[in-house]
């Protein structure tokens, strides 16, 4: 039987899309948490951190219930947007975004908080808007945090199993990502394929992290010497 590369490809796609979406969501969200105080902030922080401690199956179970066309959210999406999130790739993306949210938000929030307030204020006093300040001053000076957020989100999404299995199932070409494929192949006693998926996942994860630490070291040096 020829080896099926589809699950690996699907894993990469899922991780890539999730990371992009989480950057878009994570930057404003974490800057809000870092710079503002508002009511129920602790509640918001607790909710964002939940995926860190919650068994992925629990999160997956609730998402499965919510997305089911028999329930309000699922029905609403199906009737108004013709979107069905259960057992579909878009459903995996939504699940992954929620599941990896703390991995993007926490490093970014720490990064935002580590920058002196005077940097922002100096930029405002020079007539620059909040967006200009964010893009030109804040983000370029927290590259290590950005990189950490991106890498952790990417790697964490690739390694995702429980949530994906619960809401995506195991549909080849659609929701059968590499981590699921490993499980599936082992179950069918097809150890050869399981080995290939596993070693690829292992190497990919290792090199992503190696790359990130290497780059962070460079940033650190650059910060000291210009």
């Amino acid at each position: 039987m020829a080896f099926d590369y589809q699950p690996l490809w699907l894993s990469l796609q899922l991780a890539f899309i999730t990371t992009i979406l989480l950057m878009v969501i994570g930057i404003p969200l974490s800057s809000l948490l870092a710079f503002r105080t508002f009511r129920f902030k602790s509640v918001a922080e607790a909710v964002i951190s939940l995926p860190l401690v919650l068994p992925p199956t629990v999160l997956g179970f609730y998402l499965l219930i919510a997305f089911s066309p028999n329930n309000f959210v699922g029905r609403f999406l199906q009737n108004h947007f013709d979107i069905r999130l259960v057992f579909s790739f878009p459903g995996l993306v939504v699940g992954s975004v929620i599941y990896s949210l703390p991995f993007m938000v926490h490093p970014l929030q720490a990064g935002f908080q580590s920058l002196p307030k005077a940097l922002r204020e100096a930029s405002y006093s020079l007539g620059k808007s909040k967006i200009q300040t964010l893009l030109k001053v804040i983000l370029p000076n927290m590259k290590p945090s950005l990189l950490t957020g991106i890498v952790l989100t990417f790697a964490h999404t690739i390694g995702e199993f429980g949530v994906v299995l619960m809401i995506g199932g195991n549909i080849p070409g659609k929701t059968r990502v590499a981590s699921i494929a490993v499980y599936d192949e082992v179950e069918s006693l097809n150890y050869h394929a399981a080995h290939i998926y596993s070693i690829v996942l292992l190497l990919v994860s290792f090199f992503i992290l190696l790359f990130a630490y290497g780059l962070n070291k460079k940033f650190f040096k650059a910060g000291l010497n210009g």
Partner: protein, 291 residues
């Protein structure tokens, strides 16, 4: 002329305190804001910049209303056209000296003006360096220059020399005065350093516990009355002792220790650590306490 009338509740180390300021800042003047730490100096400056919002009051320049709480006007800091210099230089670490200035000036910025600024403060050779490569004094010079890159009319400085050594302090003081005059700025300087005030300020506001307790030119404010003397030196009493039939007071001014002869009564009012003004009149020196 900037017309200020504001009230703001501040949380101080000793508890809550109302900052109540009613004053006018003269155009083209260099005004020093002085007072103990925690008196509300920085808060006043931050309210002028628009970083902090008072509970009531107004702030008006000749052309614009910056703040009028009653009429719900509060111009954001971006629109007040000010230059602000922090105690920490707060240079953008990702940009070179030149890029810091260019960012400040904006895309339509006057390149020639920036080069002129760099040259004036002797930073041309450092233009392509990142802030981390500069000394503390150089960084603060860049910060002052950057604050001027947008050609503001009002320059606000919050203890800009506090982290610098004496020599650098004197040097930057000189430079600030040159820039202030050259560009016809209205400048507000928060400082608790008497020599800054004497050297730089046209006018000084002394704030204590949220109120302006004195204002006027530095001589009027810090000497108890106007003294007409040929030389005035401010200094600190180091020591007093008896020598034969007279009493000697040692006073530190700058890096020099003066020994002056005083009477017993005067000796008893002078104690080590006191800030004093030594006025050398035509006949004999007069030592008066600075408050």
């Amino acid at each position: 002329m900037i017309n200020i009338s504001i009230r703001k509740k501040l949380m101080m180390a000793e508890g809550a305190c109302d900052l109540v300021i009613n004053t006018k800042i003269g155009t083209g003047e260099l005004t020093a804001i002085s007072g103990k730490s925690g008196a509300g100096k920085t808060s006043l400056l931050r309210m002028m910049a628009g970083f902090l919002k008072p509970e009531s009051g107004f702030m008006k320049t000749e052309e614009e209303v910056w703040l009028d709480i009653e009429n719900k006007i509060d111009l954001p800091v971006q629109k007040r056209n000010i230059g602000f210099v922090f105690q920490d230089p707060a240079l953008f670490p990702n940009m070179t000296v030149k890029e810091n200035l260019q960012y400040a000036a904006g895309k339509k910025g006057d390149k020639q003006f920036l080069n002129q600024l760099l040259e004036m403060v002797g930073l041309t050779s450092l233009a392509d360096r990142k802030p981390a490569e500069l000394s503390g004094g150089q960084q603060q010079r860049v910060a002052i220059t950057r604050a001027l890159a947008r050609k503001p009319k009002l320059l606000l400085l919050d203890e800009p020399f506090a982290a610098l050594d004496n020599e650098m302090r004197r040097y930057l003081r000189e430079e600030l005065l040159t820039l202030h005059r050259k560009f016809g700025l209205t400048t507000l300087l928060v400082t608790h350093d008497l020599s800054d005030i004497y050297y730089l300020a046209d006018k000084v506001l002394v704030i204590d516990k949220g109120e302006i307790i004195k204002s006027g030119n530095p001589n009027q404010v810090f000497a108890n009355n106007t003294i007409d003397g040929k030389v005035q030196l401010q200094g600190e009493v180091l020591n007093t002792y008896k020598s034969g039939v007279v009493y000697i007071v040692e006073i530190l001014t700058g890096n020099t220790i003066m020994k002056l002869v005083v009477g017993e009564e005067e000796k008893n009012t002078l104690h080590p650590g006191m800030k004093v003004l030594v006025t050398s009149g035509a006949f004999e020196p007069v030592i008066s306490l600075l408050s």
